[in-house]
């Protein structure tokens, strides 16, 4: 009995650790540097847009959701365009990679 209890405890503990681990992982900011391959924005008044970045390190394509007005403006007036290299920090919320920082690596 004692043994069984401790096994259950261990399992629960493990489960807890795993859960808290994955929580941490999803709330953590991910940094990447990559080149924009595509910007999708729905019209002039859009409040959200997506940009596809090609990760410099892995070569993988990552779709980033951009909601902040400053970056949206830069998309709209073509200050940030396809081909620009970006330093991006994002967080995964409900399966979407939501941008927290989205800056060009060069330029004024």
């Amino acid at each position: 009995m004692k043994k069984a209890v401790s096994i259950v405890m261990v399992i629960t503990l493990m489960a807890l650790t795993i859960v808290s681990f994955s929580r941490v992982a999803s709330a953590e900011d991910i940094k990447m540097v990559g080149v924009i391959t595509k910007i999708e924005i729905a019209g002039k008044d859009a409040k959200t847009a997506t940009a596809t970045l090609k990760d410099n390190k892995s070569g993988k394509l990552v779709v980033i959701t951009v909601n902040d007005d400053l970056t949206l403006d830069k998309f709209k007036d073509h200050r940030i365009v396809e081909g620009d290299e970006i330093r991006c920090k994002y967080e995964t919320v409900d399966g979407k990679n939501v941008s927290k920082i989205f800056r060009k690596t060069a330029g004024c």
Partner: protein
Amino acid sequence: MKKRLSTFFVGTMLLAISSNGMAAQVDHADFIRGKYKSGPDVTKECLKCHEKQADDIMKTSHWKWKGPTKGHVRGYENSKVEYGKTNMLNSFCVTVEGGPNQEARGHCGECHAGYFWDKKGFDLTDKTKVDCLVCHAQQGDYGRENNEISDFTDLKKAAVSVGLPTIKNCGACHFSGGGDDAVKHGDLDSTLKTADKSLDVHMASTTKGGQGLDCQSCHTTKDHQISGASTMLATHEGRVTCEDCHSGKNAPHQNSRNGVILNSHLKSVACQSCHIPFFARKKATRVSWDWSTVGKNLTLPPQEGRISYDNARGTYGWAKNVVPTYMWYDGTINRYMKGDKIKDPSKPLIFMKPYGSITESSAKIYPFKYFTGKQPMDSQYKYLSVFQQYKGLWDTLNWQKSLEDGAKGSGLPYSGKYQFVNTISYIGLDHMVAPKEDALTCGDCHMGGTRMNWKALGYNGDPMLMGGGRDKKASVNHQQKPADLNFIQENWVQKHQ
């Protein structure tokens, strides 16, 4: 113990080098042991073994942002003053000297091969401020933002990864000359990082059909003196020519159809003219910048997919796949320098122009990017103004204040009255050499071809039809007068120092 260890490391390393020959990349993983909080921390580590390199770099224009003119700028042959980005103006962001304490450097300094030149009074003798990583780091997302190390950078990883510079290292600054990708140069932009042979026969990787050359393959470097002169700047550390590689037994056109005729052009037509048939071939380049529209809240549609109006910076023009402008060039330039008097503000000021003409045998016809600007000048003192854009005009949209603060930083007085003047610059094209199939052919220039403006170049007509080039008297228009530069070279810095 420590000493023995490092001797051991160096010993192993030397072995590694000798076994792999010259091309060996040195692995610094064993040398870079510390924890680094800042760029200078890393430099201090490099200095333990490479103090000479720091001494060398500190003699270069990449560090000083100036250097001796070496006869490059006409009228300055005997100048004792050194010139460069630090004390010259252009028609892009114009100047680094704006602000009571030259605060504009806080932003412009991002393209300095050193740390924290963010205002007046930077110590150019402090070795620990040299930024080795910008030219040598291959990993770790190395980068700076407004003179601070980007918080994306893994300094340790960057330091361990050092190797000889790649296109990306040099491009970190040169692809974004003028403040953004492809702005200043029509032949140096980020598309070179992934170029195939059709874009650049030299810098495309061998897997993409190119030669896999780096910048320093042509810009040969010894003791950190990087060769190659700019058509916009005053100094250089040696010249680069196509003939450095393509001569002697590697001379071009040996087996070409019409090879003899092509070679008869070489004394008058530069390689670049035929082999760089268009510029900005993959990405549009900026072809004009009008500062006079700052603060006017205009709405202008983008050009070639790029922003054409910025309320804080003015109006931009963009163009892609552009035909160059062809001019005589003997390797020296006429250059507007700070304080030169503008003769007639109603006419465009020729900011920089290659020197040469049909009658100078050392000159050849080269291709150039034609760039127009419009920027403030002092209405009373009649020279181009220095103003503070960063942490100045860009935030306040106030010309009067930014001109006053420009005068404070640069020491070039401001009378209180300004106006705008048009400028013209001719910027050299030496990169993005196209495959031989895309070179210009006879009909592009002769027999009605429009590439050569024969009259403007000083010919009486198409030399193919005239039966000879500039060696033949009848072909040359001897009435041609030298172009009026519209400024009086009377340099303020020189006079007042």
